[in-house]
């Protein structure tokens, strides 16, 4: 396996969906190729960092408006019998 081929399989490898036979080749290549090893490690960390990112908070005024609008709409949709 060449670096180029490894790059193409990167998603599958990082996501753990790579075919076992290819996985073996992938790891064999990495064992002898520091740059690819570091790139894979960088990619994993990049994904982790984004995955753990804090969500945006709703602006307070918007949030109360949103809930008021939704309640109103809800009552239209579910009129009390």
């Amino acid at each position: 396996m060449k670096c180029e081929e490894l790059l193409r399989m990167l998603n599958e490898y990082v996501d753990g969906t790579v075919d076992p036979a290819i996985c073996e080749e992938f790891e064999k290549h990495m064992a002898g190729c520091d740059p690819c090893q570091v790139v894979v490690d960088n990619i994993r960390k990049t994904i982790t960092l984004y995955k753990n990112g804090q969500p945006y908070e709703l602006p307070v005024a918007f949030r109360s408006k949103l809930h008021a609008t939704l309640r109103e709409k809800w009552k239209e949709k579910h009129p009390i019998k």
């Binding site: 570091v38 969500p55 918007f62 579910h78």
Partner: protein
């Protein structure tokens, strides 16, 4: 605001109650998921007003169509799909593309077979766990995302930030799975490049000795 419902109720239980007309259950569901929907919209659209519109449309759509939700996907996946659809409409409007799909509008360049090669390769100075969410890190992550082409950013957001599967991401964006994977790869490589420029330790920088045909 404090949630009115006991926090132990699952989404499934709350959905059942909401379907039966329980407003408090619906309100609790909204409270539970609103930040995720709003965050996705903010990251997709990078504009507060538009993100608010998408959030409101998403939950209004839930009021309208909750009875159609059969629980085949998780509630959050369903919500993110609705939000994505609403956000894509805004993106298309911004571009003046009312009819053309995102796929058609952006497809051609994805047929190119080249994958950008990693340039700056170095170990990071800190682990993601050590890189606590400081304002600087958050800005760095947001800026790197902003640098991505929209088509790459959207795929990365749904797949890696929100954790949708490739299949769900492809469906939400109206893309083929092959195209989704290619975009994801480009997004990941480009973000790695940018983050490593800042977070990488130059002392550990590696230069590729292999021949890389460009």
């Amino acid at each position: 605001m404090i949630n009115q419902m006991p926090p132990v109720l699952s989404d499934g239980e709350l959905v059942l109650r909401a379907k039966a007309g329980d407003l408090d259950a619906f309100d609790a569901l909204t409270t539970r998921h609103e930040r995720r929907v709003y965050s996705l919209a903010m990251r997709m659209l990078r504009q507060e007003q538009d993100a608010e519109d998408v959030t409101q449309q998403t939950f209004l759509s839930v009021v309208e169509h909750l009875d159609r939700f059969r629980g085949e996907s998780s509630l959050s996946t369903w919500l993110l799909r609705i939000a994505t659809y609403a956000a894509l409409k805004i993106i298309r409007k911004r571009k003046g593309l009312d009819i053309v799909s995102l796929e058609e509008a952006t497809e051609p360049s994805d047929h190119s077979d080249t994958i950008p090669h990693p340039e700056f390769i170095a170990d990071w100075r800190q682990s993601p766990e050590q890189l606590v969410e400081t304002r600087e890190i958050r800005r760095l992550l947001d800026e790197a995302l902003t640098q991505l082409d929209e088509k790459h950013r959207l795929v990365f957001l749904l797949r890696d930030v929100e954790g949708l599967s490739i299949k769900e991401t492809a469906a939400a964006l109206g893309l083929s799975e092959a195209n989704t994977k290619m975009r994801l790869l480009r997004a990941r490589l480009q973000l790695r490049e940018q983050l490593t420029q800042t977070l990488g330790d130059p002392a550990t920088q590696l230069i590729r000795s292999h021949n890389h045909p460009r």
